[in-house]
């Protein structure tokens, strides 16, 4: 995407979403019981779930965009669509440039492989060249502070160590848009601070960062703007401080002003 680095503002924001909706069917996709019902023509349609309802937003270069909301409010679904992992049921999404999704810690890791082997595997899945990974192996181990454990199978790692490795590899990937979904939940304070500084640096270098967390303080210090999702609809989009304040009051049970 080198040609797009010329003048980012003239071609519009890197991420534009218009009326994104995503509908799922509740329950199981196939069951013997349902098969029999279909055969005997007594099938009942499974109820629908609207995971996203008409969400519209745009995000700019150099922006950290926070997404807050309760469990099941559609945050992860939104990032899955952003990353091109799933398609919206309706609505349009335009993304300029490459997207790095980090939606679950360890997706792409194999527990029998060592930290080093997993760095190659996960890096390749993200789209990195073998040579690039090879040259950055020492940096990955150093950033994750896992030098001593780099040749140990991943199954011996703690959850925090896996998060560290995952984050360290993802940071190598030069993308235009980054998506982080609650990936710093199990790491310790020191590493968390370093990661947040790295994320901030990505945005400063002109990337667009989407960040989901239930840690409102984290979202508040990191993000420029925040979207509050409720039952799949965007209830509010605005500057981080005010949206988080109102969302925090809502979570605490204080009646809406």
């Amino acid at each position: 995407m080198t040609s797009e680095a010329v003048d980012p503002d003239r071609i519009g924001p890197p991420v534009v979403a218009e009326h994104l909706s995503k509908t799922y069917r509740l329950g199981e996709l196939l069951r013997l019981e349902d098969t029999l019902r279909t055969v005997t023509r007594r099938a009942t349609a499974r109820p629908l779930l609207e995971a996203l309802r008409g969400v519209s937003f745009e995000a700019y270069t150099g922006e950290c965009y926070g997404i807050v909301g309760g469990n099941g409010s559609g945050k992860s679904t939104l990032l899955q669509i952003l990353a091109g992992i799933t398609l919206p049921t309706s609505g349009t999404l335009t993304v300029r440039g490459s997207v790095l999704p980090m939606l679950a810690v360890g997706a792409g890791f194999h527990h029998e492989l060592t930290g080093r082997e997993n760095s190659f595997l996960y890096g390749t899945i993200l789209g990195l060249d073998r040579q690039v990974i090879e040259s950055k192996l020492a940096d990955i181990a150093a950033f994750a502070e896992l030098e001593r454990h780099f040749d140990t199978p991943l199954k011996r790692y703690s959850a925090g160590m896996q998060s560290r490795l995952c984050f360290a590899i993802a940071m190598l990937f030069p993308a235009n848009v980054y998506c982080f979904d609650e990936v710093l939940a199990v790491v310790d304070g020191e590493f968390k601070d370093r990661c947040l500084a790295e994320v901030r640096a990505l945005a400063a270098k002109g990337a667009t960062v989407f960040f989901i967390s239930h840690d409102l303080e984290q979202v508040g210090t990191l993000c420029d703007r925040v979207m509050w999702l409720q039952d799949g609809a965007s209830r509010e989009i605005g500057d981080a401080e005010s949206v988080i304040e109102r969302y925090g009051r809502h979570v605490a049970g204080v009646p809406d002003a």
């Binding site: 799933t86 993304v95 997207v99 679950a104 997706a107 899945i125």
Partner: protein, 264 residues
């Protein structure tokens, strides 16, 4: 610029999958024999055990005709095709659902997962193939048509890839495929001329067996390695089924892959 819509995968894009296929195959190879006493030696035992069983069942008991070729070499040539077909099918059928996290949370190209099993199971082809070529050479069966073996390998790969991507894609929607595949493979083994030849079958039965795409392929391998004249009908039917099957498989997979993260 990417606009999130249904855009079908094009065959040329597969070239870009190469690094990921290699990485996934490497992962499978490295992890397959961890905490295993015999490890890679199992690749030898599986076709060897079948060869012994076939020699007893088809040769000593059923007295299968082999057109002047020693029975073990005759059966080994069939096993070159079968062992790879079976190994890839067994590996590919769960290749998407066993990588739930990759499908659900990463943009890892979906087709790379079943295709990686073609690479990680290459030893299951290479070992019986090397044994068969060496044995055919020593016993003096190799003729000029042995030069066509690379083409026959490509044919085998296309057929196996077709089965791999179809089964893995349907499994995402219906796990029934996981239950039915081992059983279907057992049936297939006896409906394919792996341990026997088709020349002594009745014309009707020969036609029925020819509908199996493996039949013409195995006969082509036996012609190329051992000089046994194949049934042209079987070869033509198998070749046509392979090409048509690959086209259908491509359509099926590319139409299912857009919703795999939701269906898995």
């Amino acid at each position: 610029m990417r606009i999130a819509t249904k855009s079908r995968l094009r065959p040329v894009q597969l070239l870009g999958y190469k690094p990921i296929i290699r990485a996934l195959a490497g992962r499978d190879l490295k992890s397959r024999y961890k905490q295993s006493a015999l490890g890679p030696a199992w690749v030898v035992f599986q076709p060897l055990a079948l060869l012994v069983a076939f020699t007893i069942g088809f040769h000593s008991v059923a007295h299968v005709r082999t057109e002047g070729v020693p029975y073990s070499l005759f059966a080994l040539t069939g096993l070159v095709v079968w062992t790879y077909f079976q190994a890839v099918t067994m590996g590919a059928v769960g290749s998407l659902v066993n990588n739930y996290a990759l499908v659900r949370w990463t943009a890892c190209p979906r087709m790379a997962l079943p295709l990686a099993t073609l690479v990680s199971n290459l030893p299951s082809f290479a070992i019986p193939a090397a044994a068969a070529v060496i044995a055919a050479g020593i016993m003096g069966f190799l003729r000029v048509q042995a030069l066509l073996l690379p083409l026959l390998f490509v044919w085998l790969v296309v057929l196996v890839a077709t089965v791999a991507i179809v089964l893995s894609a349907i499994t995402v929607r219906a796990r029934d495929v996981l239950s039915v595949t081992p059983f279907l493979l057992q049936v297939m083994l006896f409906l394919s001329p792996v341990g026997y030849g088709t020349s002594q079958l009745s014309p009707v039965l020969r036609t029925v067996i020819s509908i199996n795409p493996l039949t013409g392929l195995i006969e082509a391998w036996r012609w190329s390695l051992l000089g046994i004249v194949p049934s042209t009908t079987a070869v033509v039917i198998s070749l046509a089924l392979t090409i048509a099957g690959a086209a259908v498989a491509w359509q099926l997979f590319t139409s299912l892959e857009v919703s795999m993260a939701d269906d898995i």
